[in-house]
């Protein structure tokens, strides 16, 4: 028994001593595939670059699962110091009282270095960044240039009108799937509304207060989605589930479909799949010709610092955040994934590297250009409560319009009604809490 006690004491002492030498902390992320590989490479690079702190990067399989576990972990006091979370959960985290704004714990960083498009999504009303943008993406338009040329289309379509004309040509040339989408909320509602200058909800998409209401059923979005459904019936558009590949990006990458709207983050996968077979083009997401172009939103995810940790752990986490902001780290991450660097110095560094035209940076310039288009009060971002759940509602209702059970107008009316209930409940849940 004595020996056991002794051993236990020694072990405890050694653990304590170890902590004094190196601070271990955890970072939870949700990505998989090539993005996960790139994240792990950054973690290894951080651990190799210095011996003072050690980050353990834990992949949770998806943003949602990562968040579920973080909620459970936070409630039982075991939350990681750093957690990556996606755009749609911004307000849920801002009001959670479980995170510290990065700008508060890292006051000396030049946060103005972040492009406005990235700041607008994650900053408070007084301009403090709540989280550090990490894997930033935006919506881009992809075409399979080889297939388009085979159908006699030499100019890459820029507007929806031109896409429709190109799709008709492709169909006439016997192409079974001219344009593919999955009807995802981020692609067909959020990014579409932002760049066409349309609001999704009142109060400037919730930025001005928790008493916002959805207005998506009254904007041009209704017409656009109705068009897509109609074009699908004409054989110009396919949904991911209509395709052999089953998923929209896979269908495009396999050469089954000729055009898609997709995240810049999927560029690396497309370029790799096309190698030696097709030529890919990426461009800003298409507009309707009657509308003036505004910015697209920053998507992807950002990193939050969670409360309830020792000063040493927070200091180590700060060092990791500093490390991730370094231009060379951001450039390597962009090159490996297609995510867009969102600090001004990195754009300069890419220019200076002489490789600005290289395929690995193909999405950087175009993505930034898209996010830097003229901003309106309604294209700052989405700041609506329980928005993750609203995305589900939107998908459910619009799927019923895709399969003909209801019209798109009815679908969006229903989405508004159900969405407003979510907003009211959010308001009630956070009674007396002010929007930061």
């Amino acid at each position: 028994m004595k020996i056991f006690t002794l051993a236990a004491t020694t072990a405890a002492l050694m653990a304590g001593a170890g902590a004094a030498q190196a601070t271990d902390f955890e970072f939870w992320y949700g990505n998989t595939g090539s993005v996960e590989t790139a994240i792990l490479a950054q973690c290894d690079a951080f651990n190799a670059a210095q011996s003072q702190d050690k980050v353990t990067c834990v992949g949770q399989g998806s943003y949602e699962v990562s968040m579920q576990k973080a909620i459970a972990a936070y409630r039982s006091g075991n939350a990681p110091v750093l957690i990556q979370f996606f755009d749609a959960g911004t307000l849920d985290l801002m009001l959670s009282d479980a995170v510290v704004p990065v700008q508060d714990i890292l006051p000396d960083v030049d946060w103005a270095n972040y492009i406005d498009g990235a700041r607008a999504y994650y900053e408070t009303s007084d301009g403090r960044l709540y989280s550090q943008p990490y894997n930033a993406s935006t919506l881009l338009f992809y075409t399979n240039k080889t297939q388009l040329e085979e159908a006699g289309i030499t100019e890459t379509p820029k507007s929806w009108e031109e896409i429709k004309a190109a799709a008709e040509k492709l169909k006439a040339a016997g192409h079974a799937c001219p344009f593919v989408t999955d009807g995802d909320t981020w692609r067909v509602l959020e990014q579409f509304s932002a760049r066409h200058g349309l609001p999704i909800a009142s109060n400037h998409n919730g930025y001005d207060g928790l008493n916002a209401e959805y207005v998506l059923n009254t904007t041009f979005v209704v017409q656009h989605l109705t068009n897509l459904v109609e074009w699908r019936n004409e054989g110009l558009v396919r949904l991911g589930v209509d395709t052999r590949a089953g998923k929209y990006a896979d269908a495009f990458n396999a050469g089954e479909c000729a055009m898609m709207e997709g995240s810049s983050g999927s560029y690396a996968a497309s370029a790799k799949a096309f190698e030696g077979k097709y030529e890919v083009t990426v461009d800003m997401a298409p507009m309707y010709e009657d509308y003036e172009r505004h910015n697209t939103l920053v998507g992807g995810a950002s990193i939050y610092v969670m409360k309830g940790h020792s000063d040493a752990e927070v200091a180590a986490a700060k060092a990791f955040l500093d490390f991730l902001r370094q231009p060379e780290q951001q450039m390597a991450f962009t090159a490996a994934t297609g995510y867009v660097p969102v600090t001004k110095d990195v754009l300069g560094a890419i220019e200076a590297s002489g490789e600005a035209d290289a395929a690995k940076y193909a999405t950087a310039a175009i993505g930034i250009e898209s996010m830097n288009q003229p901003r309106t009060e309604d294209s700052r971002g989405v700041r609506l409560g329980f928005y993750v759940q609203f995305r589900e509602v939107f998908m459910e209702e619009t799927q019923k319009a895709w399969n003909g059970e209801q019209t798109m107008q009815v679908a969006l009316d229903n989405a508004k009604t159900r969405g407003d209930e979510l907003l009211r409940r959010f308001e009630q849940t956070y009674q007396g809490v002010k929007l930061p």
């Binding site: 949602e64 579920q68 909620i71 936070y74 409630r75 849920d92 959670s96 009282d97 479980a98 949904l239 991911g240 589930v241 209509d242 052999r244 089953g246 329980f386 993750v388 759940q389 589900e392 998908m395 459910e396 209702e397 799927q399 019923k400 895709w402 399969n403 059970e405 159900r418 209930e421 979510l422 409940r425 009630q428 849940t429 956070y430 009674q431 809490v433």
Partner: protein
Amino acid sequence: MSSPTQALFANRWLPVLLVTPLALLIVIFFYVPIFQAFYWSFFLERPFGGGSIFVGWANFARVLSDPQFWEAGKRTVIFMVIGSSLAVLVPLILAVAADRQLRLSQPARNVLVWPKGVAGASIGVIFAFIFNPFAGILSPLNQWFPGIWAPGIDGTDAFIMLIAAHVWSGIPFNFVILLAGLQSLPRTMHQAAAMDGAGAWRRIFDVQLPLIMPQVFLTLVLEFTESVTSAFALVDTMTKGGPGGSTNLLVYKIYVDGFNGYDLSGAATQTAILMVFVVLLTGAQFAFLGRRINYER
């Protein structure tokens, strides 16, 4: 005064001690969460904690007036009735066939039990592939009539796919129970019935089925309660509740509301309602069905 059961243990605390580990597990992983769910259903709970507000019955009023809840409830009942009936009927037919001294009935008894070893989520993945509109067994149908089988778009197709997977996964257990019931029937009864001129079909309906009613009842009760909850793995891997919510059963809705939507109060309230429903359902089964079954032989 010592009763026969007490005589088994020398120390009267020993049985208590032996039961404690299991009882603890049940308390920690069953009763505590259930209590928590009932507790949360009276509060508006913030996902990360801190500042939960007591709202009385407001959550119940909200859930019960939500058409989505009733839709999901309706789908759950349809799934339960069709899925469970088939999940008992199909194994019953197989068991009756395997019980007869047919050729291959010996290997069939063996093979039909195998699916028991496959986890629900794996079944979902496999069936999603089997029913894939382009590569699956129904894909020839799509070549003759384009678009006739599209579980990714058509809600009814997706529901059929879900039920097929559920029935398949229910076969082994119910098959074993029903076959055991059939095998326990004395052969003399068959012989007596045959002697009286009853054919094979007659003997099935008048001798075998009435005598294995306890087993049929057991499988039905288990299936009904199981189908309410065990469909989760299938829905999650095959359809994610879609398309258009057509396969969004109550258990899946609770998961999505609670874990993806951070609506802990709403999810807890629905859990409480679902639990009461299952308890009432089983009670009703025992009250109305169970009483008619003769357990004496």
